[in-house]
């Protein structure tokens, strides 16, 4: 909300600079987004006296003026306007001036005649949207003075962000009240305009049947107005406050709303048929809103009717046909109090925000309803003529939001704020409109009708704290509790030790991305209001996000990436839904770059398998990788499920070639995912004495059939080698020249050790023979010659 400084000064005699006032506003809780100086742009526009005016010799519509701007020589100016004459005073933009519309004034020739400046209209000065001719200044304007200073245009405008609880401050008067109370200044009385009531004019007939939502409704007729534009000063004020001038009547109502906070509405009386009634919608009524939208209304909406149609969505917007236009002669003026929750709900349903609805839903002052009506009547009749009838009043202003009291103790407030509260604070609250009585430690506080946000002791504590300033509250560390340390989740920290970069991707992906790795089984959780199709469903796998990130980086000249993400996956279940913590990896491209000591190598399945195994080992876990050709989105023959004990805790594999190709990813892509919630507790390290006697290491190389599982081979070795075996692993794998077609040469290195003695040749021969026998028997594999 934008508030011109001059408007504030009409309510309270503020002596400080705009910057100082802005600081006070901030301290009082009104965020100042900016202090604008919109009129700085008219610097260089001076009051000029037209000394002579003759027609341009070569152009019918131009005049040649000599204009005195208080310098030695008058200026010669070529002017296209028609409404000025000798002796008039007009604004003159001198050479070098920049106008609000961006025009820069230069010396020039117009149709052969020299022009040393420009005479300005209201529009050119940014005071009005458009203008028919020059702005003629009053006769007492001092020649040569800055027009901005003379018209008091050069002023600050506060751009404020008013919090939703402070509906009372969505107007100049409310902010002035806060500032006055803070500075100890008097708040000026509201100008209670005298209105002469025309007794011959019938008061509108109004029935309110929804008293709960509309506890107060006032209406009055004003007959015989001549609608024209509002005066320049009012248009300028509205523009500065960020509102567009519409027509004289609407401008007056908006101006008063900005000033006093009471939204009002004017109907064209000749467009209404019959009496006015305020009642709840039954549902299905049609409404042609002023903003051009056609709505079908819901039961419960609060409406203003005439005999034939809905003429307003109460507190939000009037209807198009019943609105005031330039040709309007008779009007009915509405000023009312509509219940906040009602306005809020209705405007949310139709996504229809107006200056009026913003104020009604935050709560207006019931005591301002009539005052604003009187001010508006006086202004309208003064500016546009016409006579006003008596006010029809439905409801009792004094019954609304009245009689509210907060009782609390000073010590309670002090304990919540952590400061001492001096008695002098009572005066400040009184200036803010609160009624205060003290009995010892006890406070009894009457809340004014315009403060909808104050109802409990904590609200009072905030009022005190606002005024003394939060800076006055000391910084105190509370007594620190000692709590048992909680085991930190180190899943991601462990994962990045293996050279992986942690990424964070959005939890929502597109439906087609979801389908890459998860079948469409109806368990997707879909957003009702997604930002885009790319962010439509809650992910059930982290892989699509990792794939996108990998692609993003490969497109940026990265030769290879190793990524890891920890996050949640989400899906519907029979019981409702679940969100599970997972960790997921992706590797593609170069696992080893070309170096002076090593050759380039592309990542393969075993790079990622090793990373997952190392990660599991850090948690005291060992995984079993069971080949599984049926994992969606992974390539058969290079994919596996990961079992921890008996629990299937994850999956690993190469991304299906078609999926990678669709993303233009050439190198094989490997992914893995582990369900963190499914992981059992890992083994804790247990002490075992170090061996005293040396072990024996032996190598055996066999020829196996090509498809033999190394896991099965090692298991057979382990069961055949006897109790002395401490380790067995594959140390060599070869196929090709020297190995028969369909066979692989596989080297097994095993270690024997005894805690009580040094082993003999006989020991290792026994184990070797047992292993050779087992390989022969189990796999028909013989030693490689």
């Amino acid at each position: 909300m934008k508030i011109p400084f001059s408007c504030l000064k009409k309510h309270v005699a503020l002596a400080e600079t705009p910057t100082e006032i802005a600081n006070h506003l901030v301290r009082l809780g009104h965020e100042v987004e900016a202090v604008e100086l919109p009129r700085a742009a008219v610097k260089g526009v001076r009051v000029g006296l037209i000394e002579s005016k003759i027609p341009h010799p070569d152009a019918d519509k131009l005049s040649l003026l000599t204009v005195n701007i208080g310098e030695n020589e008058p200026l010669a100016i070529v002017c296209g306007a028609m409404n000025m004459g000798e002796g008039d005073k007009v604004p003159v933009a001198t050479i070098g001036t920049s106008l609000p519309n961006g025009m820069k004034i230069k010396k020039g020739k117009i149709r052969g005649e020299v022009s040393c400046g420009m005479c300005c209209s209201e529009a050119e000065l940014g005071l009005a949207e458009d203008a028919a001719g020059l702005l003629i200044l009053p006769a007492d304007a001092p020649v040569g003075a800055e027009v901005g200073e003379f018209l008091e245009l050069e002023e600050a405008v506060f751009d404020l962000s008013i919090t939703p609880n402070r509906g009372d401050c969505m107007n100049v008067r409310g902010l002035a009240r806060d500032l006055a109370a803070d500075a100890g200044l008097a708040l000026a009385d509201i100008d209670l305009a005298e209105v002469t009531v025309d007794a011959t004019l019938a008061a509108p007939k109004v029935t309110v049947s929804a008293e709960q939502d509309c506890p107060l409704y006032m209406a009055r007729s004003i007959a015989g107005v001549t609608v024209s534009d509002s005066p320049a000063w009012m248009q300028a004020g509205l523009i500065m406050a960020g509102m567009r001038p519409v027509n004289g009547i609407v401008d007056v109502l908006n101006f008063i709303m900005l000033d006093l906070g009471q939204p009002m509405h004017a109907f064209d009386a000749d467009k209404l048929s019959g009496d006015i009634s305020i009642r709840s919608a039954l549902g299905g009524e049609n409404f042609a809103a002023l903003d051009g939208r056609e709505l079908t209304l819901n039961a419960g909406d609060l409406l203003v009717f005439d005999d034939s149609s809905v003429i307003a969505l109460a507190g939000i917007m009037g209807s198009q046909p019943s609105g005031v236009s330039d040709g309007t002669i008779n009007i009915i003026l509405e000023s009312a109090f509509f219940r906040q929750a009602r306005v809020s709900e209705t405007r949310r349903i139709y996504a229809m925000v107006s200056e009026a609805s913003m104020r009604f839903e935050r709560g207006v002052d019931p005591l301002m309803v009539e005052i604003a009506m009187q001010r508006a009547t006086a202004m309208i009749t003064n500016l546009f003529g016409g006579s006003a009838g008596a006010i029809t009043v439905c409801g009792e202003p004094g019954n609304i939001n009245s009689g509210r009291q907060v009782r609390c103790s000073v010590s309670h407030l002090e304990s919540r704020l952590g400061i001492d509260i001096p008695e002098a604070m009572d005066d400040v609250l009184a200036r803010m409109g609160f009624g205060i009585s003290r009995k010892g430690d006890d406070l009894q506080i009457d809340v004014p009708s315009f403060r909808h946000d104050v109802s409990i002791p904590e609200d009072i504590s905030e009022e005190y704290a606002r005024v003394i300033g939060f800076d006055a509250i000391p910084e105190l560390l509370p007594p620190l509790a000692t709590t048992a340390p909680v085991q930190k989740d180190t899943a991601i920290h462990d994962a990045v030790t293996g050279g992986f970069l942690q990424v964070v991707s959005y939890a929502f992906i597109s439906t087609s991305e979801q389908r890459l790795f998860v079948a469409g089984d109806g368990a997707d959780i879909e957003l009702a209001n997604p930002i885009s199709d790319a962010m439509r469903v809650m992910r059930r796998s982290v892989w699509p996000g990792l794939l996108n990130t990998a692609k993003h980086n490969l497109n940026r000249q990265q030769a290879g990436v190793a990524l890891v993400e920890q996050g949640r996956v989400y899906q519907k279940t029979e019981a409702g839904h679940e969100e599970n913590n997972v960790i997921a990896w992706l590797m593609t491209g170069e696992a080893q770059t070309d170096e002076w000591f090593a050759a380039v190598r592309q990542a393969d399945f075993f790079d990622l398998k090793g990373a997952v195994e190392a990660w599991l080992a850090l948690r005291g876990l060992t995984g079993r990788f069971i080949a599984d050709d049926a994992i969606q989105g992974l390539q058969a023959g290079q994919s596996a499920k990961i079992l921890i004990g008996r629990v299937e805790a994850g999956r690993i594999g190469r991304v299906d070639g078609d999926i990678a190709a669709a993303l233009d990813m050439d190198a094989p892509v490997f992914v893995a995912e582990i369900d963190l919630d499914a992981l059992p507790e890992g083994k804790k390290a247990k002490f075992a004495p170090l061996p005293e006697f040396p072990g024996v290491e032996r190598d055996l190389v066999f020829l196996f059939d090509k498809d033999t599982s190394s896991d099965a081979i090692l298991n057979a070795v382990k069961s055949a080698a006897g109790k002395l075996l401490t380790d067995a692993r594959v140390f060599d794998l070869y196929a090709g020249k020297g190995v028969p077609e369909g066979k692989i040469s596989l080297g097994i290195r095993f270690t024997l050790q005894d805690a009580k003695r040094t082993l003999t040749q006989e020991d290792s021969d026994t184990a070797s023979n047992a292993i050779i026998g087992a390989m022969e028997k189990r796999f028909a594999a013989g030693l490689r010659g």
């Binding site: 704290a465 990045v496 964070v504 879909e526 957003l527």
Partner: protein
Amino acid sequence: MADIDAMIEQLDVILKAAVDAFAAAGDREALQQLRVRYLGKKGALTEVLKGVGKLSPEDRPVIGQHVNRTKAALAESLEQREIELAEKAKTARIEAEKADITLPGRKKTGGALHPVQLGLDEITAVFAQMGFVVAEGPEIEDEFHNFDALNIPPEHPARAMHDTFFLKDLQTNDEQPMLLRTHTSPVQIRAMKRFLAEGGEPPLAVVAPGRVYRCDYDVTHSPMFHQVEVFKVDRKVSMAHLKGVLKHFLSTYFEKDVAIRLRPHYFPFTEPSAEVDIGCVFCAGKGCRICKGSGWIEVLGSGMIHPNVLKSVGIDAQEFSGFAFGLGVERLVMLKQGIPDLRLFFENDVRFLRRMGASR
């Protein structure tokens, strides 16, 4: 009788020849052969000694002394030459093994934590050290925990400020719509309820990090971001305590003594409520582009927990009070690391991640 003088002369000849031979020996092997030739069982000296028997008894000790002296001189000369050769060999080996130590080392390419993770870890650690217990909550929430229990009734204007993502075909047991939590504040409700259900009684101090979602996507807004919710409930918790904890936290996090400023604000779940500014960390409060010349930067929202929130979980708001605040992790990390654009966090460009992440 042999001539003692001839023998002595012979010894001198041997010594001289040996010393010359030692000096000529090019390596340890050649030297070893010379050792055998002169000092071995069948060596030159032994040969001389064989003639001792032919000497007269009175000459024998004399020649014996000469032999011993020569032997000692030979041994010393040999040893010295051995040392010379060893040094020469070592020098040659060092020369041969010389490396271009300016070549890059064989690095294990380290991974890195995401800068947001780093921020979460740092922030959580400060509060954990102050005795706050870490808690988490669901990201898929219901309206009760995200709004109602936090004193934001359905028609409340603040509800509209939250730009909530709602979820299709997902409802609570009492048919309330489900949504993605718009803040970590619902963890307040869940943590307090759980704590009370387990028979606890305040004090209760909790830090709750997590992802939150808002239906807002532009240069300065991400539909998903991270927050940390911090609250404490106890007897006589005051706004001064809130300020104390904020000051300690912000100074620890930014690794300098930062000035803090509280401005009255409005949040439905706190009363009083305050926006918290810190003295601009870029210009030390002098005014710059980042703080728009004000010298202050808004970092988080805070306040004293609204009695209605305490009541909604069954805590006596007369006896107990509490403070709470919620901070945006990305915002704090951007300020601390000088990262200019929120979108960088979710683009996950590995060059950014390597530079800004905590390397491991």
